[in-house]
Amino acid sequence: MTEEKVGVYVCHCGHNIAGTVDVEDVAEWAAGMPNVAISRDYKFMCSSLGQELVEEDVKEYGLTRIVVAACSPHMHEPTFRRACERAGLNPYLFEMANIREHASWVHTDDINAATEKAKAIVGGSIRRVMELEPLEPFIAEINEPTLVVGGGIAGINTALEIANAGHPVYMVEREPSIGGHMAQLDKTFPTLDCSACILTPKMFDVGNHPNITLMTYSEVEQVDGYVGNFTVRVRKKARKIITDLCTGCGDCWSRCPAKVVDDVYEAGLGYRTAIYRPFPQAVPKYPVIDVDTCIYYEKGTCKACQKFCPTDAIDFDQEDEIVVLNVGNIVLATGYKLFDARKVPQYGYGRLANVFTSMEFERMVNASGPTGGKVLLRDGVTEPQTVGIIHCVGSRDRSYNQYCSNTCCMAALKFAHLVKERTGAEIYNFYIDIRTPSKNYEEFYHRILEEGAHLIRGRAAEVTDAARLPGEEGKLIIQAEDTLIGKQRRIPVDMVVLMAAMEPYDDAVEVSHRFGIGCSEAGFFTEKHPKLDPVATMTDGVFIAGACAGPKDIPESVEQGAAAAARVLTLIGQGEIEIEPIRATIDEDRCSGCRICNNLCPYSAIEFVEDLGVSRVNPALCKGCGTCVAACPSQVIEGQHFTFDSIMAQIEGVLYDRMEDTERVTYLGSQPAEAK
């Protein structure tokens, strides 16, 4: 072991690390550790000069192992591994010590402590690097087909980009039609073009593209495998329609006697039948039978639709179908749901009839919506003369969502315009801040001001029907502090629109687990890097686009859809990819066959070999998480790159300064685990 020579490089990261940690001291200290041949500090290790420094030192001093103490390995482990490789070292003989996130950034108040902690971290890495073994990466082929989950505008764009480049795409959408929220909107800000006019052609293209296989009314149930080789189980819910026969003529739904409130497409403002097509431009054109509201499934009789179907396309006995797909890449574009405004009781939604949500209002102003585009009160007859629009409902509020929903200010201004245009009513917008930071958005805001909307800076405190002052009878009163005046005001209005927050779907956390990616506490999927890698995730081959990663408007969702497609196309173009060889292996000679590990593996990578009576890890499925390693009662599972020896050595390194000389270096590795 004496011939091993370790090089240690302590990065300043500009002021990020050097501002809090005494980097020179750390480097000097590290030089005193056993096996360290050279120890330096440097301003920016990730710069080309920093990388060259490592390469030159390897050649000049014959270094055999490298430690870089800098930022998170998520960021630059690949960078320095490549540098090692260029210098002729096996890239797995490199170890990154994170003294930024783990020391300097979290202890800004105490330089001494931060420096001591940095030393401990570096010490751990130096001892650990000594125990690492050279490894060779696996090569995986990239399957050509791509799975896109979610058929909103983001997913539609991804699918079309990839399909147009000549590659097969499967699109899985949970609702009966693709289109997502954009299909519900009337006009889109800031240009006010008609949402359907710009969306429908794209939906049509998806439905008719030779490279796209569309599966609506379907959901992904299970995902196995890894980048390039995913196996995906999709449940196609029974539509109860034989699509080969259906012409989409509509005789069925026009005869269906079961009318229910449509909470999805009409946002609760309109009705649909039990057999329904959500909207005229739906893709595909076939209806579905909603078994929860269909009279036949409840009472055993009715079948009106079947009687009237001219092509005999209705099949009440149709069952769910399971389809298994093999794909190389996955793009999640599952979008958002609207915040439930009933949770803010002071605004009276669900109690006061003329309080509406933003999505209800979108349906109302939509020419194909329940009022044919007329702005009307809940009675369906009366036009309002005053309308109050309340911003930030469920956003920017720690009781619900702390974040800003990003799109509602603009949508609220759009509503102000539409109300004015359709009714001439007086409009009051209640806002905390107006957020219009995109191209032509501020100009749109000015246009609304010009049109005469009253913008009151103050978050609405409450909406009440309890009249107190003259002129308030029969009205809804919005009470707020006009903060620019510093006085409480009560504005009587006929109609209130609540700009509800954009939230992740209720099942977002579950979906993130299913696809093996991270999500924020709220449930928005986490990007690999918020600035530099916004559509990738920590799981190779799984990408995200659109509002599922955070509140976004249409232009941003479209951009992300295209960006995700570009990332997928790169991988398809490469044809294969290197995968980290970090896997668990079972010493079969010593495995007792207890099978404890079998069910613990989150990736189902461990199989039991019946005739030998031992468990075995399938390296293609194993992700090296280490669950089984920790669980094995016989301690015979070893995680490559995270061996017992390397972990014990790292702990010893962390405690290096706290240990007596005699206690140190007792740990030399290579003995069986029990012996220690």
Binding site: V261, G268, L269, G270, Y271, D340, R342, K343, P345, Q346, Y349, G350, R351, A353, T357, M364, P370, T371, L376, R378, D379, G380, V381, E462, T464, D465, A466, A467, R468
Partner: protein
Amino acid sequence: MSPANDHYAYYPGCSIRSTSKAYEQSTMKVVESLGMTFQEVEDWNCCGATEYFSINSLPAYSLVARNLSLAAEQGASDLVAPCSACFLNLHKTDKYMGKYKDLNEDVNQALAAGNLGYEPGSLQIRHLLDVIVEDIGFDTIAEKTEKPLWGLRVAPYYGCLIVRPDSKYNPEYPTHLDELLRVLGATVVDFPLKTHCCGGHMTQISDETAYELIRRLLHNADEYQADAIATICPMCQMNLDVFQPQVNRMFKTDFDIPILYFTQLMGLAFGISEKELGFGSEVVSANAALKKIADEAPEKAKKARRDKKALPMPESLP
């Protein structure tokens, strides 16, 4: 029928012993007929109302904590207060002691000077209404109801402090008192201002401000043609009842709405006599309202047929 009994410690509060005897009288009758026993906290002291907290903070918390300590010593698991302000002070002190370590240490140091101590969280602090609704339940109350309050239109008034700043009930639009009154047979009117302020101690500071707050509530109950307002707090009762003539004078109104404790209404429905329930001590007499109680259930309003043109109305949260 009722849960294990001896775990309720009872904190009456000062008002119930002076300005609001009818509340305690009716409470005791109702509690007795529900088979519950309340054990009064021995030698309890004033909760400090809002005043003490305006003068000196740590002594105020310590004042309240003495009661918590005494109640816990009695071996109770729940501490019940019929007054909303007392409930708030007891509840808040317990909660803050649990949340803020320094405060907990200081209060316990002060208590130690009187050989007392209190571990935050050892008692469940509850308002009487909560105990009746949750622990007794509507089914038992329905069984007990002998003389339903048929035909009596009641506005359920919660006031502030049992739902804010921190409770399991909706802070803006609770419904448990509504539900209770409905079980008693009363017609519960919508009362949008049900959790608005009764004026608190404002009557001592500014008549204009205080009477306006009271007027709003009376006006709103009147708009919904309430025969009576049901309250759950001595302070609310006093402000709406005792100052009602003053309000009428200031605003040239003629409100005549009796303000009754919910326990008085429960007692009536259970068949207890008016006298035993302390009726007669209200300034705005309840006589006219009580005469409206009918022998027969009012006809149920027919469900209006859905107007073809109307847009669907969202359901309220369960």
